[in-house]
């Protein structure tokens, strides 16, 4: 027992990696702000049922296109006003955060997982297998991403699930290329050879030895990928290929209210702002993460 305590005490002497990471991350004020915005968005999404003043689907027929509460004609009942069928915009935005973050999580998880598998195996095995995978990824990259996503959704049929799937396919090449590049730079290092000399099989080499040393750029890409996914999902929703009405998805909200932009600016502005702020927050946090995880930036 005394031995174990001695070990933990020794451990606490050098700064914990997380603590060190936070030191570098917190130097970037924008990144910290971004992180707080993300945390708020997550909080709103998780507790939407308790925070949102109204049900996002309830239509208040007596309050169609009501302006925000601080304007003439607005009421304190609908803080950000209502849309063309009398639904509370604030509540729809709060529930929309749930959808947008959900899209981000699923897209990033899918493309990161697939990207790691393809990238690691391509980088490790090389040869014709690598050429096949990388050229296929080049083909995906050669097509405009939104067009490609649109085409996939058009084939599968418009729905949120299909939008998620298509976005995951479109962003996949970034992860594959990044993973492969890291693997290529790591795989000739001595510690990898040492692991092989003591008998590691290919599976162990790829996922237990190489992958942990390739994670830093992937974490950054995944964070930045969140914003791309949210943006693409909103774009697909806007074009009618993503979430279908009456789902409170930010992009779809924008699209449905477009015809009222002249006389009711709030129906378009607030979903647009929600998208802007969330995407900006993820980009800022991602940038901060990149700086914090890059060993070359450390003093």
């Amino acid at each position: 027992m005394s031995e174990i305590t001695a070990v933990t005490q020794e451990n606490s002497a050098p700064p914990h990696p997380l603590k060190e990471f936070w030191k570098y991350f917190s130097e970037n004020k924008g990144a910290v702000v971004g992180l707080y915005v993300i945390l708020i968005a997550v909080f709103l999404a998780v507790f939407a049922d308790y925070i949102a003043p109204h049900n996002p689907f309830d239509q208040y027929r007596d309050a169609l296109l009501q302006p925000p509460s601080w304007m003439a004609g607005g009421s304190s009942k609908f803080f950000l006003g209502t849309d063309d069928v009398g639904r509370d915009i604030l509540s729809r935005l709060i529930y929309g955060a749930r959808l947008s973050l959900f899209v981000g999580v699923i897209v990033v998880t899918l493309s990161l997982a697939a990207g790691i598998v393809f990238g690691v195996t391509a980088g490790y095995f090389g040869g014709i297998y690598e050429i096949l995978i990388m050229r296929f990824m080049d083909i995906i990259l050669a097509l405009p991403s939104l067009l490609m996503a649109l085409a996939i959704v058009a084939i599968l049929g418009p729905s949120l699930q299909n939008a998620i799937l298509s976005i995951a396919v479109v962003v996949l090449p970034h992860y594959v290329r990044l993973t492969r590049a890291s693997i290529l730079s790591e795989k000739n290092k001595d510690y990898v050879t040492a692991s092989r000399v003591c008998g590691s099989g290919p599976f162990r080499m790829m996922f237990a030895v190489l992958l942990p040393n390739c994670m830093a750029p992937l974490i950054v890409q995944a964070t930045l990928g969140f914003s791309t996914a949210i943006l693409d999902a909103a774009a697909l929703g806007f074009l009618g290929m993503g979430a279908q009405p009456p789902t409170p998805e930010w992009g779809a909200m924008l699209a449905n209210a477009l015809q009222f932009v002249q006389r009711a600016w709030w129906v378009v502005t607030f979903p647009g702002l929600a998208i802007l702020i969330t995407v900006l927050a993820f980009n800022l946090a991602g940038d901060g993460l990149r700086d914090a995880l890059d060993p070359k930036m450390k003093r």
């Binding site: 031995e3 001695a6 070990v7 510690y191 040492a194 000399v197």
Partner: protein, 325 residues
């Protein structure tokens, strides 16, 4: 005990094919290692010396079974390590371990020392976590690391300590041969001595054999039993240490030995300065590969490659060997 040999290499060769050109592909053969034969007994140190690019590290990669030789074969503990089936090969891999030159690149930066040391056990044995930990701690003590360093990351150590960790990892599976690929050339001189002493102590304790690769002749002279001098992928002189160091025959060996700095005034020999670069192994000179830099070069050296033959108790490949002995 001494009758047994751990490694018996016969005419090992490793050729690489280099492809060049975009449309008209030309391929040329790089003879990284062109025929090396030797044997190592338990408790012995066999040193390989030579300039950069002479095939020392290729030899290390062949012996540790990272790569397969193009020609020739070798035996580990009497079992052929080139033609055996994969199962037997896996068992042989445990017998030969390696210590790399750069202690900063050879330890996985994401793993704690304990995990690095236990990896060989995890892969090759059925020991449980507690037993593995016990073994790792035992080895750590042997190489002069403290118990509490078990759960630290490699970046918290100095170069010398890292090399101790690397040595400890090589010993985890109780190998009979450790290939040491320039294990001290990345370290400070004072730390070099510590690591060398450690290697020597471990050799006595565990009856280890070393295949010691180095370009530092003073280190080689200190620790080896046998020496092989290589030039451009070929051994040029090979034999017992005292014989080679006492009376070098090949002009290249003599130049190398003369280039080693001596503190002692009386030991100082006349410098032999080699001119020119080491030739490209892609396009080695005709005849004796050393003839372009050799001061004793004659016509025969340009035309025919000298045989690797026995002269004055050692093997040497020089047409004029008898003249120098």
């Amino acid at each position: 005990m001494n009758e047994k040999t751990i490694i018996k290499a016969r005419n090992l060769k490793k050729y690489y094919t280099i492809k060049d050109g975009m449309i008209f592909k030309t391929s040329s053969t790089l003879k990284a290692l062109d025929g090396a034969s030797f044997s190592i007994k338990p408790g012995e140190t066999f040193s390989v010396v030579g300039e950069s690019g002479c095939g020392k590290s290729t030899l290390a990669r062949l012996i540790t079974m990272i790569e397969r030789p193009t020609f020739g074969d070798f035996e580990v503990d009497g079992i052929n390590a080139v033609t055996s089936d994969p199962e037997a090969m896996k068992a042989l891999r445990e017998r030969v371990q390696i210590v790399f030159q750069d202690p900063y690149g050879s330890l996985n930066p994401r793993k704690k020392v304990g995990a690095i040391l236990e990896e060989p056990l995890l892969i090759n044995t059925q020991l449980n976590a507690a037993e593995r930990r016990e073994k790792a701690l035992a080895i750590m003590e042997k190489v002069g690391l403290r118990k509490e360093q078990y759960s630290r990351y490699p970046h918290m150590f100095s170069g010398g300590q890292r090399q101790r960790i690397a040595v400890a990892r090589a010993l985890m599976l109780n190998p009979s041969l450790v290939v040491a690929d320039e294990p001290v050339s990345a370290l400070d001189v004072s730390v070099q001595a510590q690591v060398l002493n450690l290697l020597m102590d471990l050799q006595d304790e565990m009856n280890l054999a070393y295949l010691f690769i180095s370009h530092d002749l003073s280190v080689v002279q200190l620790i080896s039993n046998h020496v092989m001098v290589m030039y451009l992928g070929r051994p040029v002189e090979q034999g017992e240490k005292d014989i080679i160091f006492g009376n070098p025959i090949h002009p290249y060996t003599r130049a190398l030995l003369a280039a080693t700095p001596h503190v002692d005034g009386k030991d100082r020999t006349k410098r032999i300065i080699l001119t020119g670069e080491i030739p490209s192994p892609l396009n080695p000179p005709s005849g004796c590969t050393f003839h372009k830099r050799c001061v004793h070069m004659t016509d025969i050296c340009k035309e025919t490659a000298p045989e690797f033959r026995s002269v004055a108790e050692r093997m040497v490949s020089c047409h004029h060997a008898e003249k120098f002995s």
